[in-house]
Symmetry: C2
Subunit: 407 residues, 2 copies
C-alpha cells in the first residue's frame, strides 16, 4: 500500500467541485460534488438513528436498488433531517437538477447533507449550486481538497486521504474525504464520508468490505455520544483501473479491504481528533480481553465518558474515572486485575496495576497527558483479544460551540 | 401525606451528627453519622458498576444478611473505590470504631463514601471522626441538616426532605438526605441517599418498596452519563412509630411506598438540578408511548444528550437535537408523529408537531428556556404510557469542575 496526495479525485475518472451556494453560511463554500462519467458500483452504510435524514433515506434506496451511481451532491449548513415530505421533495429536486446538468439519470445521484436539523434547504439555492458544480468539476487534486473543505461544519480542518494498492499487477487507487465534528457517535455510523476508487469490484464485495470495516473504524469513534440523523459512508467504484474484478473471499479482496480500512481509520481518527472543541485525539486500547466484543465495550465506554474526557482536557491522570467507565460499560471483568498506562510523544507511564494505583509521578503523567495525541491502554488479563476506540477531550470550546450558537 | 421540616432525624428515634475529620477537605465537615438505638430493618439498592466501591460491597453484604442496622457512617472527599483489600479493611476498621464507640455489633454499621476514586482513606482520621460523631449525635433537626451538608462533594446545597403519613391512625415519619453531583447516571442507582423511617415494616416490604421506586426516581436522573462506583440508597426503619406492621400488598404498603416515592423523587430531582455546573433542572416527559419502557428510553435519552444539554445551557430551542436523541434511544417510533413543547415559569410553547417545526417564536422559546426549571414534553402518539426523566444543562462550569481540579 502506498500513500499518495489527494482525496476523492485521486482515483482515475473521478472529478469534484465546490461552490458557495449560500444555503446557510455566508462567505464560504457549502456545496460539493463528486462525479464519475463511468457508472459506479455503490456501497453505503447509514445511521441507525430512527430519525433518518431525508438524504439518508434517499441514498439507502439507491444503494439497495443496485442502481449505478454517477454523482454525489453534498451540502453543509442544513442537515435536511426532521423535514418530512418537503425534505424528501428537496432530495428529488436536487437529484433532478444534477440529472439535468450532468445528463445522467436522477437515480444515479446520491446526496449528503450536514448542519442544523429541522430547517428546509432552499431548493432554488441548492439547484443553482448543482449547476455551478457541474460546470466547474475537475479531476485535479485541488478539486478534491476544495470538496473536502466545502462539506465542513464545525470541523477545523478538511479530512482526506488517498492510497494505491496493486491488484494482480494493476494499480488501484482509493481516496476519501470526511467531515465531523459534533453529534459524533456513529452507529451504522453527523459524520459524512465519501470514498472513491477506480477498482473493478463487485457490488457485493464493495458492500461487504465497507460494512465490516465501519465497525472497527467509524463506529469506534465518539465526540459527544450523540448518534446523528445523517451519518453516511458511501464508497463509489467506477472500475477505471482495469484490474481483474475483485470478488469476496479472494486475496485481492483482502488487499482492497486493508486499503479501505486505512482510509476509514485515518478519516475516523481525524474526525475524533477534530471533535468539537477538542485539543487532543484520545486513543483507547483495551487488551487482554476474552472477546473483541468485550474489548470494544471497554474501549468505547472509556472514550465516551464525559468525566474521562474532562480529565484529559485537564491533563489529569484521574484513572479512577477510567475504571469507573469500564465498570459501567456492560462488559464483565475483575476490577482487581486491571492494568492501565498512558502514552504520548512525551513518554509512557504505568498508572495502575491490579486495579490499584502504582507509585507514579503525577508530574510525568501530566506531561504525557499534555500532548495532542494521547493513548490509554487497559489490560484486563482475560485473553488475547483487543480493540481500539478513538475520542477526544471535552473542553470549554465544546460548550461554546453548542451552547452559544445554533449549530 | 404531610411535609414537615427536617431530614434523617425527622423520624422518631434517629440521631445524626457531622464533623470535620480532615479526610481530604480542610475547613469543612466531611463525615456524618446516622444512629438509631433501636435496631433497624434495612433495605438498600446499589450501583450496577462492575467496579463497586468497598463500602458498597460492605453494605450489600449486610443488607443481604438481614442483620439489624444501628448506624450509618458516611465520609466525603475519598470514595474508597478501586482500593482493593486495603479499602475493605478500612471499611472493617471504620465499622469496628463505630461498634466500640456506640456499643453495637460491627455488622450493624453500614457505610457510605464519596469523592475521588483510587485513594485510600486514612483509617486513623476516619476512626477519630467516628468517635467524635458518636459523642455529638443528636435527634434535633439541625443535626440532620448538618449531616446532609457533611456528605456533599461538588454539590452546591444540601438535599433533605421529610414527610409524615397516617398508617391505621398512627403517624409514620419518613425523612431522607442525598448528595450528587457529578458521575451521576444512577443505575441500581456517586449519589448517596439515606432515608430513615420510624415505620414498623417488614424487611421484604421495605426492600420491595425501595427497589421498585428507584427505577422511577434515582434511575431516571443523569448529570453526565457516568454511572458511579459508589451509588447507594439505604432505607432504615426502626419501628418506633408503633404502627401495625406494614406488609407487601396492603393499602398501608401502598401508602408507605407513595411517601417513600415523594422523598426519592424530591431528592433525585434535587440531585439532577444541582448537577455539576448546572444552571437549570431539565425535566423531560415522554408521553403517548405504548409502554413505560419505551417512554423511559425516550425521556432518558433526551435528558442525557450532551447536545440537548448544551442547547438548554444556551437557552436555545434546538429541537432537532431532541428528535435526534429520541432517534438513537433504542426505542421505535414514527418520527413524523412526534409533538414537542417546552414549559417553564415563563410559559408554555409548542415547538414541533408531526415531526416538523411549527411557526413558533424563537424569542418566546428563549424566554421559556432561560428559567431555572424547564420541562420538555414529547408525545409520540402511540399509546397512553409515559415516563419522566430529570437532567440538567451542560455548562462551562462542568468543564471547570472536572478538568481543572481532581474531583
Amino acid at each position: 500500500m502506498k500513500y499518495i496526495d489527494g482525496g476523492v479525485t485521486a482515483a482515475k475518472g473521478f472529478e469534484a467541485a465546490a461552490t458557495a451556494a449560500g444555503i446557510k453560511y455566508k462567505d464560504r463554500t457549502d456545496m460539493a460534488m463528486i462525479y464519475s462519467a463511468e457508472p459506479c458500483v455503490a456501497a453505503g452504510t447509514f445511521t441507525t438513528n430512527v430519525c433518518k435524514a431525508a438524504p439518508v433515506i434517499w441514498d439507502k434506496q439507491i444503494c439497495d436498488s443496485g442502481a449505478a451511481v454517477h454523482a454525489v451532491v453534498v451540502n453543509s449548513g442544513i442537515a435536511n433531517a426532521c423535514t418530512g415530505q418537503e425534505g424528501l421533495d428537496i432530495c428529488q429536486g436536487t437529484a433532478d437538477a444534477a440529472a439535468e446538468a450532468l445528463s445522467i439519470p436522477a437515480d444515479s445521484v446520491v446526496l449528503g447533507s450536514t448542519g442544523v436539523i429541522g430547517k428546509q434547504i432552499p431548493l432554488d439555492k441548492i439547484a443553482a449550486g448543482v449547476k455551478v458544480l457541474a460546470g466547474e468539476k475537475c479531476s485535479c487534486i485541488e478539486a478534491g481538497s476544495k470538496a473536502a473543505a466545502a462539506i465542513m461544519t464545525t470541523d477545523t480542518c478538511p479530512k482526506e486521504l488517498a492510497v494505491t494498492i496493486e491488484v494482480d499487477g494493476v494499480t488501484v487507487t482509493i481516496g476519501g474525504m470526511a467531515k465531523g465534528s459534533g453529534m459524533i457517535h456513529p452507529n451504522m455510523c453527523t459524520m459524512l464520508a465519501f470514498i472513491t476508487t477506480d477498482a473493478v469490484i463487485t457490488k457485493e464485495a464493495l458492500q461487504s468490505a465497507l460494512s465490516d470495516d465501519v465497525n472497527d473504524t467509524y463506529n469506534m469513534i465518539s465526540v459527544d455520544g450523540d448518534t446523528s440523523t445523517n451519518d453516511t459512508v458511501l464508497v463509489l467504484a467506477n472500475g477505471q483501473a482495469g484490474n481483474p474484478v475483485i470478488e469476496c473471499g479472494t486475496p485481492a479482496y483482502e488487499e482492497f479491504k486493508k486499503a479501505l480500512h486505512e482510509i476509514n481509520e485515518y478519516l475516523a481518527k481525524k474526525i475524533a481528533g477534530d471533535g468539537e472543541g477538542a485539543t487532543a485525539l484520545f486513543t483507547v486500547i483495551a487488551k487482554g480481553c476474552e472477546s473483541v466484543e468485550q474489548a470494544k465495550l471497554l474501549a468505547k465506554s472509556i472514550a465516551c465518558s464525559n468525566l474521562v474526557k474532562t480529565a484529559i482536557a485537564g491533563h489529569d491522570a484521574n484513572w479512577g474515572r477510567i475504571l469507573c467507565a469500564m465498570g459501567y460499560s456492560g462488559a464483565q471483568f475483575d476490577p482487581v486485575k486491571v492494568d492501565l498506562s498512558f502514552e504520548s510523544a512525551a513518554g509512557q507511564i504505568q498508572i495502575c496495576e491490579n486495579g490499584t494505583a502504582v507509585d507514579y509521578s503525577e508530574d510525568k503523567a501530566t506531561e504525557i497527558l499534555s500532548e495532542s495525541e494521547i493513548t490509554a491502554t487497559v489490560d484486563v488479563h482475560m485473553g488475547d483479544c483487543q480493540a481500539t476506540a478513538w475520542g477526544c477531550d471535552l473542553t470549554h470550546a465544546y460548550i461554546e460551540i453548542n451552547a452559544d450558537y445554533r449549530s
